[in-house]
C-alpha cells in the first residue's frame, strides 16, 4: 500500500483537528500535546523560511557569490546580524542594541511617513470628501443621503477622537473632570465605538465560524474518503 502525501496530510489534519477541538470538553493533555507540536512545527518552519528566504538569498549568498560592491554593502548588515545574534548570550546582549537601534530607527521613520501619508491625511480628506456631492453623484448617491451619511461619518470620527481625549481639569472637590462639552461629545463617541466594535465582533465571529466550518468540512471529507 502506497501512502501518499495527501493521505498523510489528511490523517495529520484529521488528528490535529480532533485534538484541538477536544478542548471543547475541557483542557486535556491531548490538546496540550497538539498545541506544543503545532508551536514547534510552526517555529521550525518559520526558522527555515527565515534562513532560506531572507538570510541566505539576501546576505549569505551575495557575500559568497556576489560582487565586491555587494559584499561591501553587506558588511554592515553582516555585522548587524552578528550583533543581533549576540542577544542570544546574556553577557553579549548589550551589543545587540546597536542593531536593534537601527531597526527601531528605520521602523519609526517608515511608520511616521506611512501614517502621515497613508492614513492620517487620506482619512481626514476622506471625512471631508464624504460631503462631496459631485463624487456622490458619480456613484449615483443622492445628495441628502450624502450629507446625512457624511454627517454621521464626521460625527463618528470626531466623537471617537474626542472619546480618546482624556484631558481633564481638577475640580474644587479635588476630583478630575473633563469639559462638559467634551464629556457630551465623548458620550457620542461611546456609541460609535460601540457600533464599530460590534461590527468587528461580528466579523471576527464570522471568520471564526468560517474556520470552524472549514475544519468540520475537512473532517467530513476525510471521513467521507474512507466511507
Amino acid at each position: 500500500m502506497v501512502i501518499s502525501a495527501d493521505l498523510i496530510t489528511g490523517i495529520l489534519s484529521f488528528l490535529f483537528t480532533l485534538l484541538i477541538l477536544s478542548y471543547l470538553i475541557g483542557d486535556n493533555p491531548l490538546f496540550r500535546i497538539a498545541i506544543y507540536i503545532f508551536v514547534g512545527a510552526s517555529s521550525g518552519y518559520i526558522a527555515s523560511v527565515a534562513w532560506w528566504q531572507v538570510i541566505w538569498p539576501r546576505l549569505v549568498s551575495p557575500l559568497m557569490f556576489g560582487s565586491m560592491l555587494e559584499k561591501g554593502l553587506l558588511l554592515i548588515p553582516l555585522i548587524g546580524s552578528i550583533l543581533i545574534f549576540m542577544k542570544v548570550s546574556p553577557r553579549l546582549a548589550g551589543m545587540g542594541r546597536i542593531a536593534m537601534a537601527y531597526i527601531v530607527g528605520v521602523g519609526a521613520a517608515v511608520t511616521i511617513a506611512g501614517a502621515l501619508s497613508g492614513t492620517l491625511m487620506p482619512q481626514v480628506m476622506g471625512t471631508i470628501n464624504a460631503f462631496d456631492l459631485v463624487a456622490a453623484a458619480g456613484r449615483n448617491i443622492e445628495a441628502v443621503e450624502v450629507v446625512f451619511n457624511g454627517a454621521l461619518i464626521l460625527a463618528g470620527t470626531v466623537f471617537t477622537l474626542i472619546y480618546f481625549h482624556f484631558g481633564a481639569r481638577p475640580q474644587a472637590d479635588g476630583s478630575m473632570k473633563r469639559f462638559r462639552l467634551i464629556e457630551i461629545l465623548s458620550w457620542g463617541g461611546h456609541i460609535f465605538i460601540g457600533i464599530t466594535l460590534g461590527a468587528i465582533f461580528a466579523g471576527v465571529y464570522a471568520a471564526a465560524l468560517t474556520a470552524l466550518i472549514e475544519r468540520i468540512a475537512s473532517l467530513i471529507n476525510f471521513i467521507g474518503n474512507f466511507l
Binding site: 521602523g107 492614513t119 471576527v204 464570522a206 471568520a207 470552524l212 475544519r215 468540512a217
Partner: protein
C-alpha cells in the same frame, strides 16, 4: 616645652596661644576665664595650687555634683569618725572592694554607662566604719564564709593550692623588711595620710574627690570622674593586678606565668614595667614584649639600676598617669624633687625620708619604699595604707583567687580603694605580737593587732594587714601602665629617693591644663575619699557578671539617686488627628488584605454547562448541515459598494497583466480567505501573478491556494511567481515598493511597483492591509488596490475604501458569496459553506439575543438582590 601646649587628646604640641589643637581641634584653653590664669602647664617640682572652681559647679552634670556632694559628705564624716573609731573600722570587716560602686549606683544617671559610672561615682562617700560589718568583705563573693581558701591558708600555711610556683618564688625576696612592695608603702602612706588628714587639711589630698575645683571645662566628664576616683581606682587596679599574678588559673596568660617563673626574686610589681620602651635588655625571651622584659630586668636589678626606669616612669606618668598625687608634696620632698619628676610624683616623694632616697629611683617609687612612719604626715592617704603588705605573699593568692574569682577587672578596680584608705587610718595602732597567729606571717601578725575584735573570717582586705597576697591580688589585673607605675623598685629601702637625683633622667614635663585641673588640692577631701565603704548591703547578686558577689551594687540610702530617673512613657503620644490618620491607614491596609467578594463570580459556575451547550449546538448544526450538503439558504443578493468596486477592479485588469498578490494571512484563516479570494481570481483573465507575503506562512499558503482553489492554473492561463517571504513588515513593503527588483532579485522584469496592473492584498489583518496601503500610497498610487480580507478585518479596512485609497474590498464569506453571485462564475467553496455559515450566524444571533436578554434579566436580579442585601 614651655613654649608649646600638649594637646590633652592627641598629645601633639601646640603653640601656647592656640585655643584649639591644630591636629585634633580639641580645646587647649579652658573656657572659664577664672581658670585661664591657672592653665599653665605644671612644671615638675611645682607645688599644686588650689583652684577655686566652685563657680563651675553649677554647670557640672548632675551625677558629678551628686558625687561631689557625696564625697564631701563622706570626707566630713570620715574625718569625724576616723579619729573616733579607727580601730573599729579595721576590726570589723574589711571594706568591700566594690563598695565604690555604691555611690555610682546611686548617683548615676541614665546616660552613664555602668563601667564609667563605677569609675566616676566611686568617689568615696561617707562610708562609715561602723558599716563595715564582718560580712562585708573587700571583695564580696557571697557570704562571709565563702573563703575556704583564705581560711585554709591561715590554717594550713604550707598549703598553697592557688599560689603559683612562680609567685611563691617571689615571696622570699619581698618578705624581707627592706624589700617592700611599693603598694604596701602606698597603703601605709595612705594610712598615714588618713591619720594625719585632720592635722594637715591645708595640704592637698593626693586624690581628692574635690579636685573638681581645678577642673576645666575641657576635661572630659569621664576623666573628671576618674580623677575623683583616683584613690579607689589605683588601689583597685593594684588589687586586680595582684589577682592576676596570683591566680594560676587558665585565665592567666602564659606570658604572665612565664614572667613569674623568671622573676622569682623580683617583686610582683616590677618597676621594669614602667619603662617599657627604653628599659635595658631583658633577660626574658625574645618573645616577650619589651615592657615585660624590662620588668624582668628590673626585678633582677638592684635598686640603683633604675635611673632609666625612673625617667621612663616619669615620662610615662606624664603621658598616661593622669592623676598626679600632687597633694602630698612636702617641703622636704620638694627640695629633693627633680624637675623632671612630675608634680604628682613629687607628692609621692614627699612622704619619704630624704635620707633613704636613691638617686636613680623615681620619687614616687622611692616614696613607696619608705617606711610607713616616715610617711605618716605627708604621704597620701591611699598610699600610706600600703606599707606592711610585703611580707608573706604566699597566702594571699589563695585568698585573692577566691575573692576575685569571677569579678571583672574593671569591677575590682573600682571597688577597694575606699577600704584601703579607711583601713589605713588604723595603721598607726600598735600591733600586739600576741595577736599574731602562729601560722600567719610576720606581716600579717603586724596587722593582727588591728583585728582583735574581728571574729569572722579573716578580712579580705584590711589596710594594715595587707599581705603581699592581697597586694598581689590588687595588682593582678592591673593594666600594664599601672603595673609599671606600681613596680616595686628593688630598692625597697625605706629612705625616699631624693627627687633631685632624678633631674638628669626625668625630662621636665608639662602637664596639660586638664591634668593640672585634676590635681587634688584638698587633703581633707582625700581623707574623706579614702573612707571605707560603709556598705552594709548584703544583697547577693545572683546573675550576670557579679553573680555570687554580695553588696556589689548595694543601695545605700546615702547613695540613692538624687533625682529619679526620667520616666519615659511607653505609651505612644499621638494627637487625635494622628490617631485618626493611623486608623484610616489601618483601615486601608485591612481593606487591602481583606477579600473582596465578587458577586459575579457566582455566575461563572454554570459556564461549563453553557460552554458545552454552545459547543454541542454549533457543532451539531454545522456538522448536520455540512453532512447533508444542502443548499437551503440562498446566496446573498445585492452588491455593496466595496464589492462592486472590487468587481470593477478585477474586471479592469487586462489579460496577462502583471498583478501583485500579497498573501498576508495566517493559516487559521486559510479556509475563509481561500473561499473569499477564489471567486475574484476566477474573474481575472490569465493574469501574470506575482505572489509575495509579509507573513512567514504566506508563501506556502500561496502555493496551497494555487494548488487548491485555483487548481490547474495552466488550464486557466495563470502564471505566477512566488517571491516568498518579505520580512520587515512596513519596512519590507516600503523597500519593495521603492525598488522591487533590488528588494526581490527574483523579480526581473518589474523595476517599479507601478508596472503592476493591480495590487491584490489577501489579508486577515487590518494592520497588514494598512501597511500595504500606507507604504504604497505614495508610489503605487496609480495602480488599483483590491483587498480581499477576512470578515474580522473589514470594518477597519472600510475607511480606506471610503477614502478611495482602495479600489475594492471583498471581506469574508459573505463578500465572497456576493462576488460569486455577481461574477457569473460557477459555484465554489462559498456555496459549499454558505448554509452552514448562515445557520451558524443565525444560531449565534439567536443565542446572543436570547442569552443576552436572559443574562440581562439575571444580572438585574442579582444586582437587585445585592442592593437588598446591602
Amino acid at each position: 616645652m614651655a613654649d608649646v601646649i600638649k594637646c590633652p587628646v592627641c598629645g601633639e604640641s601646640n603653640l601656647p596661644d592656640q585655643e584649639f589643637c591644630q591636629y585634633c581641634q580639641s580645646r587647649l584653653q579652658p573656657l572659664t576665664g577664672s581658670l585661664k590664669g591657672a592653665n599653665d602647664p605644671i612644671k615638675p617640682g611645682q607645688a599644686p595650687t588650689k583652684k577655686n572652681t566652685a563657680e563651675l559647679e553649677p554647670i557640672l552634670p548632675q551625677w558629678l555634683r551628686d558625687a561631689r556632694d557625696s564625697a564631701r559628705k563622706s570626707a566630713e564624716d570620715n574625718a569625724a569618725q576616723a579619729g573616733s573609731q579607727p580601730q573599729e573600722s579595721f576590726n570589723t570587716s574589711p571594706p568591700d572592694l566594690l563598695a565604690g560602686l555604691q555611690s555610682q549606683s546611686g548617683s548615676d544617671e541614665e546616660e552613664t554607662p555602668d563601667w564609667l559610672a563605677n569609675i566616676t561615682g566611686a568617689a568615696p562617700k561617707a562610708k562609715k566604719p561602723q558599716a563595715e560589718s564582718p560580712e562585708v568583705r573587700w571583695v564580696e563573693l557571697g557570704g562571709a564564709k565563702d573563703f575556704p581558701q583564705e581560711e585554709s591558708a591561715k590554717e594550713e600555711p604550707e598549703e598553697e593550692p592557688f599560689t603559683p610556683s612562680w609567685l611563691t618564688g617571689l615571696t622570699p625576696t619581698e618578705s624581707s623588711s627592706d624589700v617592700k612592695d611599693e603598694l604596701t608603702d602606698w597603703f601605709r602612706q595612705e594610712n598615714d595620710s588618713q591619720k594625719s588628714q585632720q592635722s594637715s587639711e591645708s595640704q592637698p589630698a593626693p586624690f581628692d574627690t574635690s579636685f573638681s575645683a581645678s577642673e576645666s571645662s575641657d576635661t572630659p566628664d569621664w576623666l573628671k570622674k576618674m580623677a575623683a576616683d583616683n584613690p579607689q581606682n589605683d588601689d583597685a587596679l593594684f588589687s586586680d593586678a595582684s589577682k592576676v599574678f596570683e591566680t594560676p588559673s587558665s585565665d592567666t596568660p602564659d606570658w604572665l606565668r612565664q614572667m613569674a617563673a623568671e622573676d622569682d626574686n623580683a617583686p610582683i610589681l616590677s618597676a621594669g614595667t614602667f619603662d617599657a620602651p627604653t628599659s635595658t635588655p631583658s633577660s626574658s625571651g625574645d618573645a616577650q614584649p619589651d615592657w615585660l622584659r624590662a620588668m624582668a630586668d628590673s626585678q633582677d636589678r638592684p635598686q640603683d639600676a633604675l635611673p632609666t626606669q625612673s625617667a621612663d616612669s616619669a615620662s610615662f606618668s606624664e603621658l598616661t598617669f593622669d592623676e598626679p598625687p600632687t597633694g602630698i608634696a612636702s617641703e622636704a620632698v620638694k627640695s629633693a624633687t627633680n624637675d623632671n619628676v612630675p608634680d604628682w610624683m613629687k607628692g609621692f616623694q614627699s612622704t619619704e625620708s630624704e635620707e633613704l632616697v636613691q638617686s636613680e629611683t623615681p620619687a614616687w617609687l622611692k616614696k613607696e619604699d619608705e617606711p610607713a612612719p616616715s610617711a605618716e604626715t605627708e604621704a597620701p592617704a591611699w598610699l600610706s595604707s600600703m606599707p606592711a603588705t610585703e611580707s608573706e605573699p604566699e597566702q594571699a593568692p589563695a585568698q585573692d583567687d577566691a575573692a576575685f574569682g569571677d569579678i571583672p577587672s574593671w569591677l575590682k578596680a573600682a571597688a577597694p580603694q575606699s577600704s584601703l584608705y579607711e583601713e589605713s587610718a588604723a595603721e598607726d595602732l600598735p600591733l600586739p605580737a600576741s595577736d599574731s597567729s602562729p601560722d600567719s606571717p610576720d606581716w600579717l601578725n603586724t596587722f593582727k593587732s588591728t583585728e582583735i575584735s574581728f571574729e569572722g573570717p579573716p578580712p579580705a582586705f584590711t589596710p594594715d594587714s595587707q599581705s603581699n597576697e592581697n597586694i598581689d591580688a590588687l595588682f593582678a589585673e592591673m593594666p600594664d601602665w599601672l603595673t609599671n607605675a606600681t613596680d616595686p623598685s628593688p630598692s625597697t629601702s625605706t629612705s625616699p629617693i631624693p627627687a633631685a637625683n632624678t633631674d638628669e633622667n626625668i625630662a621636665p614635663g608639662e602637664l596639660p591644663s586638664w591634668v593640672q585641673a585634676m590635681r587634688p588640692v584638698d587633703t581633707g577631701s582625700a581623707r574623706s575619699s579614702s573612707s571605707p565603704s560603709a556598705s552594709g548591703d548584703r544583697t547577693l547578686e545572683s546573675r550576670g557578671a557579679l553573680a555570687g558577689l554580695q553588696g556589689v551594687l548595694p543601695s545605700v540610702p546615702g547613695f540613692t539617686p538624687t533625682s529619679k530617673p526620667k520616666a519615659y512613657s511607653i505609651k505612644l503620644q499621638a494627637s487625635e488627628e494622628q490617631q485618626a490618620h493611623a486608623g484610616l491607614l489601618e483601615q486601608i491596609l485591612a481593606a487591602e488584605t481583606a477579600p473582596v467578594p465578587i458577586a459575579s463570580f457566582s455566575a461563572l459556575t454554570t459556564s461549563r454547562n453553557l460552554r458545552w451547550f454552545l459547543s454541542f449546538a454549533l457543532l451539531a448544526v454545522i456538522t448536520t448541515v455540512l453532512f447533508m450538503r444542502g443548499q437551503s439558504f440562498p446566496m446573498p443578493v445585492g452588491v455593496p459598494r466595496e464589492i462592486n468596486g472590487a468587481l470593477q477592479v478585477s474586471q479592469s485588469i487586462p489579460e496577462g497583466a502583471p498583478v501583485l498578490v500579497a498573501f498576508d494571512y495566517e493559516p487559521a484563516r486559510a479556509g475563509e480567505m481561500e473561499a473569499t479570494a477564489a471567486p475574484i481570481f476566477n474573474v481575472l483573465r490569465q493574469p501574470n501573478l506575482t505572489f509575495i507575503s509579509t507573513n512567514e506562512m504566506g508563501s506556502i499558503l500561496a502555493e496551497r491556494f494555487i494548488s487548491g482553489p485555483l487548481a490547474d492554473p495552466d488550464q486557466s492561463g495563470f502564471q505566477y511567481l512566488n517571491l516568498g517571504y518579505l520580512p520587515g513588515g512596513q519596512m519590507g513593503i516600503r523597500a519593495f515598493a521603492q525598488n522591487p527588483t533590488r528588494t526581490t532579485p527574483q523579480l526581473v522584469d518589474i523595476t517599479s511597483l507601478s508596472q503592476f496592473m493591480a495590487l491584490i492584498i489577501i489579508t486577515d489583518n487590518a494592520d497588514s492591509a494598512r501597511a500595504w496601503i500606507e507604504q504604497t500610497s505614495s508610489i503605487g498610487n496609480a495602480i488599483p488596490i483590491l483587498i480581499i480580507s477576512s470578515a474580522q478585518a473589514a470594518p477597519m479596512i472600510q475607511p480606506y475604501y471610503e477614502s478611495q485609497q482602495v479600489g475594492g474590498l471583498v471581506s469574508g464569506l459573505y463578500g465572497g458569496a456576493v462576488f460569486e453571485q455577481n461574477n457569473g462564475g460557477v459555484p465554489g467553496i462559498t456555496r459549499t459553506y454558505w448554509d452552514a455559515y448562515s445557520i451558524g450566524m443565525l444560531l449565534a444571533m439567536a443565542l446572543i439575543v436570547g442569552g443576552g436578554l436572559l443574562n440581562l434579566a439575571l444580572g438585574l436580579r442579582d444586582r437587585a438582590a445585592m442592593r437588598e442585601s446591602n
